[in-house]
């Protein structure tokens, strides 16, 4: 029975769907490599399964409280984050809820605590919480919606981030950490997936789902993602410096686009994390090497003692790179100024040089004034026919439409000769040849 392909497929589907439901990113190709004889079937059918699961999951929730759910942004072991609209304020938010499968007393307690923790934090680089609520025993909270991408997206896509921007991002995140630590809160799950980027760059630290305040007790001693976990966390002996380590590892990956610890086998991964980095991977700029290797040191006591110290160290990097930016700016400005001077000179001397040669260039102006009668030709030329035959039309062109409305009650005008006289006087000024002036007298006659 084991050789039966349908049986194998159906059994594989069990594991595959289970992993999808757990929020894992599952690569279908992994299954293909593992079961080459089924590769075609897997490529054929697994996406359909995935789609069924995704459609089902996405539509499990539509509105909670005053938040209308639009689409799923992400899901973790415990929570799901949706993009949602807050009806009362008409704004977009990120809405987090506990997955229905994960609802139990302890998860509910943790969820509420997460909301409270974020509620205490107010920092320009920590995603703020807007609201918390419970509906039908379903807890939820709304946070500021950050479009992203997350650092994980950037790493996955291999998008080059300018070195200066990385330094700025690093500094922002270190300051967010320093602030959180100063409030007695440790994040404990810093990883590229929990860092969002806005234009700027403006980095946002999010997902305090595993955070604790330092006086609290830890539920589930092994928290976080092993790849970004400091070695001491594996022994359940973490502190603020473990956050610094995780941030350091995340930043390294932003330069290298590959996991610092790529091991897929969990035992190997644990070993590698425990051994620590012997040296930084290639691709880290010189000015960051020292700082990052210090931040990611395997021994906590050799790391920065506080996130603030980390931030300050990063600030020096920022300054030096800022100086080069400034230098570059100065050079550019100088070059632009020189260029401007050059062109100004060229213009000046050029004009001076050319003036006598083609006298038309400069003299034309006086010429216009002097020989004004020569310029009007365009007007008569534009008139399609002799003025005599088309006077009405040509006058309509010349004068505002009102004039025609003035026409109909001409008795009025005729009864009052002084007005007529004024019209006669005005006419020539408006342009038509003086000979056309008396037309007003002619017009009423048909009546």
């Amino acid at each position: 029975m084991a050789e039966d392909p349908d049986y194998l497929l159906a059994e594989l589907a069990d594991g595959y769907c289970e992993r999808l439901r757990a929020g894992e990113h599952v690569n279908i190709e992994d299954y293909c490599t593992e079961h080459p004889q089924l590769a075609d079937d897997i490529r054929d059918l697994f996406p359909t399964m995935a789609q069924l699961e995704i459609t089902k999951m996405q539509d499990e929730l539509e509105q909670i409280g005053e938040f209308v759910v639009k689409s799923e942004i992400g899901r973790g072991g415990m929570g799901i984050v949706y993009e949602a609209e807050q009806l009362s304020l008409g704004r977009r938010v990120a809405l987090k809820i506990i997955r229905s499968e994960a609802i139990n007393e302890s998860s509910q307690r943790r969820f509420q605590r997460e909301a409270c923790l974020i509620g205490q934090l107010e920092h320009p680089h920590i995603v703020p919480i807007y609201a918390y609520g419970v509906e039908d025993e379903q807890q939820y909270f709304a946070m500021r919606y950050i479009r992203g991408p997350s650092l994980q997206d950037i790493i996955d896509e291999g998008t080059q981030t300018p070195e200066d921007s990385i330094v700025i991002i690093a500094q922002q995140l270190a300051s967010a950490l320093a602030y959180a630590h100063s409030q007695g809160i440790r994040h404990r799950d810093i990883k590229p997936g929990n860092i969002m980027l806005d234009a700027g760059p403006h980095a946002w630290l999010s997902d305090f789902g595993l955070a604790i305040d330092t006086h609290g007790s830890i539920t589930g001693s092994l928290a976080g993602t092993i790849r970004y976990m400091a070695p001491e966390c594996l022994a359940g002996d973490d502190d603020e410096r473990s956050d610094i380590y995780a941030l350091g590892i995340s930043l390294i990956e932003l330069y290298t686009f590959t996991p610092v610890f790529p091991q897929k086998n969990s035992d190997e991964l644990l070993d590698a994390v425990q051994t620590g980095l012997s040296s930084l991977p290639p691709g880290i700029p010189e000015n960051m090497q020292k700082i990052l290797s210090k931040a990611c040191h395997v021994h906590p006591h050799k790391r920065f003692t506080t996130a603030q110290a980390f931030e300050e160290a990063l600030a020096t990097v920022k300054m030096s790179s800022f100086v080069t930016v400034q230098n570059n700016l100065k050079k550019t400005l100088l070059f632009a100024a020189l260029l401007l001077l050059f062109f100004a000179g060229l213009l000046f001397f050029g004009l001076d040089y050319y003036r006598p040669q083609p006298p038309q260039h400069l003299p034309p102006r006086p010429a216009i004034i002097q020989e004004e009668p020569q310029f009007p030709p365009p007007h008569p030329i534009h008139l399609p026919l002799p003025l005599e035959t088309h006077t009405t039309e040509s006058e309509e062109d010349w004068l505002p439409p009102k004039r025609e409305h003035l026409g109909p009650p001409p008795n009025h005008l005729l009864d009052h000769p002084p007005k007529r006289a004024r019209y006669d006087g005005e006419r020539p000024r408006r342009g038509p040849p003086p000979g056309k002036g008396p037309r007003f007298h002619d017009r009423p006659e048909p009546q």
Binding site: M1, D4, D6, Y7, L9, A10, E11, A13, D14, C17, R21, H25, V26, N27, I28, D41, D44, L45, F46, P47, T48, M49, A50, Q51, L52, E53, I54, T55, K56, D59, E60, L61, E62, Q63, I64, S100, E101, A102, I103, N104, D136, E137
Partner: protein
């Protein structure tokens, strides 16, 4: 858990099984009933019934989870009859794999997709989408529909589906893979999922 003898074992089982039972209840409950009875209430009834019937549990006939699911199906059936005056869905028959209510599964799937019983209003877009998917699923045979529902909406394993349908696991596998292939054909000819296909 392989066996179910003591009240402690039952309590443990109820704890671990409740999320999935709740999911199944939400999936199978008639939309007309949602406003009157919450799926949570039904699960409560299931727990009470399970405690009463614990001594009837036969390890050879059911796994503990499937036994609970069976009780859930009976409870749902009773609730439907009580409130709607009819046997809205022949769940017992369904559970015994004797026959399927042709309209039932696709309607529930579409209902589930349209947002289940949670929302006060179902947006037009979503309703449209649900109808679209329902149309696609309706093109599957009732057996195929039911198998897709059991595997993906009730989240049952291959083995559990075989037990519920009372067929060999191999036969259940063949039916499932066949149903998936047909669904895939229908879906790709309708061009529905293509744009949002996600392999990850």
């Amino acid at each position: 858990m392989d066996n179910l003898e003591t009240a402690e074992q039952l309590a443990e089982l109820l704890e671990t099984a409740s999320p999935q039972l709740l999911r199944i209840a939400r999936f199978r409950i008639d939309p007309r009933l949602v406003r009157r009875i919450s799926p949570e209430d039904i699960i409560q009834d299931v727990f009470i019934a399970a405690k009463k019937r614990l001594h009837h549990y036969d390890n050879n006939r059911h796994t503990p989870f499937l036994w609970l699911r069976l009780i859930l199906m009976q409870t749902l059936c009773d609730t439907h009859r009580e409130h709607l005056g009819v046997q809205a869905r022949d769940i017992r028959k369904e559970a015994g794999a004797v026959g399927f209510d042709p309209g039932a599964t696709s309607a529930t799937i579409a209902y589930q997709i349209s947002g289940g019983g949670h929302s006060p209003s179902v947006s037009a877009v979503r309703r449209e989408r649900a109808q679209h998917i329902q149309k696609l699923l309706e093109q599957l045979s009732p057996i195929d529909q039911e198998i897709v529902a059991l595997r993906h909406y009730e989240e049952l394993s291959n083995k559990e589906v075989a037990t519920i349908l009372g067929i060999e696991i191999k036969a259940a596998s063949i039916r499932y893979v066949r149903a998936l292939r047909r669904l895939k054909e229908i879906v790709s000819s309708a061009g529905y999922f293509e744009s949002e296909m996600d392999n990850g």
